[in-house]
Assembly symmetry: C3
Homo-oligomer: 261 residues x 3
């Protein structure tokens, strides 16, 4: 099973869902996982009794390793297009959510994992110098698309984003806190409890006022993708199926395999 | 009298106006007060000898408590529309002012009071942990409109604004300094003197160069409201006259009454 | 000779150019210097073996004193137009460069010198309290144009830019670091060595991914000028040839002469 969504009653009248991502070994965001994830979020979104969503990992040491390279390496243009549409869908579902969304980042969170965190209303990370977070696409020879970039600018500003994306920087948890990439660090065993406590504070705000405010803040960024989805997919497919990019990905996969053995 | 505008000669050739807001008990921004305020600012704007405006409060402990709820509760759509136009006018007058504008924030400054401060070129606040400042609309079940939001983004950036508006956060003076919501803290009895001293520094810059620069910085934000005033008024009236919102305001007023007694 | 461009091999396959600006006494950005500078950058841009550019000064105590006032004072509208086009060209060449660009700021860097620094990917400044940097145009009675402003907003955000430009602030090197106007301070004799070391880190990223990312980050800002170059030139010429502005420049030049003697 790719993920478990546990609904737990929190304050009598309303409930908070805790999504434990479980796609061993490192919660790669594969086409299958993303599809299942989006269906689960959509169900929660339509469940009026569910007002909050906490996203966390049930895998040790990693929140999510990001997009699954196996869905972009040696695949047909059609497969790549379907995959990219699912990545867009995940971002749209989370960034437009009417629920309060909190990322309980209990492990490393590079690339797509960082993006997933950035879509949430609040980010709590385990205070562990071994865990890192960031949009490190350029290190792999690929490029974070404009909506990854926009989400990061909305969080840490233009200059920090420019340097982070050009260099593909991964930040330690304490550096991530310094630049505002995460909102709070707590000891690893308190990440989920802190997320639950924080959720209570957010749920004290009347839903309709909070939702209109959230939508107002994010609408321009969301509109840019929704009015350019097909172009963005075409751009991704053209880019990722290039021989030179496929070669880069192949070398990266080779390096990963070496590291393991 | 709702406000006193004292013109005092500062540097021989030019003068600085000090506006002491006086609408007891808490300088609520009522329709009447806003109308008087806008006329006063317009007069100063047209007086070429007046180059600077300091806005402060003559009421103890409060700069301004923000928009007067009595102008939105149980009132006709026509009244609500007239009120909202006056709020827009206050923002436009201050945010487009050719004068150097300094907020001498000698007390708490929630919601509309915070907005008024945000329109100024510089914000000096009394260093008193009991005083708070912020756009706390969502706490009341209402929503800060897009131009409140834009003014705050221009001051403290996108991420801080998103969290502040979603949660309706009120910041202590020291937290407000940390996030850049105010520029300087001084002991309460030195707020006005510091504002006057700061004004001298700003008036040392040639007016025409400073004014063109200010206009260039603020024009996109101002254009968004001026080209959407009627839509914005209609949105406000539709929202505020809803039964559910009126009920929220009623509950809030009841809570305020209880607190007093 | 206005500048020296030294090409030095760094990592076997690729080379880094170090541009030592040499327009005594203070590297004023005159029409002649800017023309020569743009030709040199364009040559490097077209040289595929050159992947990085370090800009520094061979003059003591100053990186660049900014635009040469002698090209705007007492000159014909045609000359002013030609001069402004050269300033635009310098900004466009640097801000759109496919090379990694690093400013090695080994001296003061007001106005146009600050702008030049802001176009680079990374800014290293000498840790010397006597050196200052900033867009101080309003202090001279003139105005930084919209693309100077946009470049600064992209670097330090809206609020800091608004105050800096309205007051024409010059920051000490340590204050510049605090607000993010420069990225790093090092002892003066290590500025160039640190730039070279930093360059190696940037060149470790695959060029195509870094270049696409850089272009994505800067395109909206660049498009604003490229689609408005003639209007911007006309605005500058109309402004700078005004009697009142010419008088301001004359007074400033008089003050500079007095200071020297």
């Amino acid at each position: 099973m790719a993920l478990r969504a546990a609904l737990s009653n929190k304050c009598g009248v309303s409930s908070v869902a805790v999504m434990h991502m479980q796609n061993p070994p490192v919660n790669s965001l594969s086409l299958g996982f993303l599809t299942e994830f989006c269906i689960a979020v959509e169900k929660l979104e339509m469940d009026k009794s569910c007002r909050g969503l906490i996203v966390t990992s049930s895998q040790p040491k990693v929140f999510s390793a990001g997009l699954d390279i196996m869905d972009m390496y040696g695949k047909s243009p059609e497969h790549c297009a379907e995959f990219w549409r699912a990545v867009q869908e995940m971002w749209l579902k989370l960034y437009t959510s009417n629920m309060v969304t909190i990322a309980a980042i209990n492990g490393s969170s590079p690339a797509g994992g960082c993006l997933m965190s950035l879509t949430c209303d609040y980010r709590i990370m385990a205070d562990n110098p071994r865990y890192s977070i960031g949009l490190n696409e350029t290190q792999l020879g690929i490029v974070a698309p404009f909506w990854f970039k926009d989400t990061m600018i909305n969080t840490v500003g233009h200059r920090t984003t420019e340097m982070a994306l050009e260099l593909g920087l991964l930040y330690s948890s304490s550096d991530a806190l310094k630049i505002g990439l995460v909102d709070q660090l707590v000891p690893e065993d308190q990440v989920l409890a802190t997320a639950t406590k924080t959720m209570t504070k957010w749920l004290a705000i009347p839903d309709h006022a909070r939702q209109i405010t959230k939508s107002m803040m994010r609408k321009p960024t969301i509109d840019k993708l929704t009015s350019n989805r097909e172009t963005d997919i075409q751009f991704f497919v053209n880019f990722i199926t290039k021989d030179s990019i496929q070669k880069s990905l192949g070398m990266y996969l080779g390096m990963l395999k070496k590291r393991k053995s």
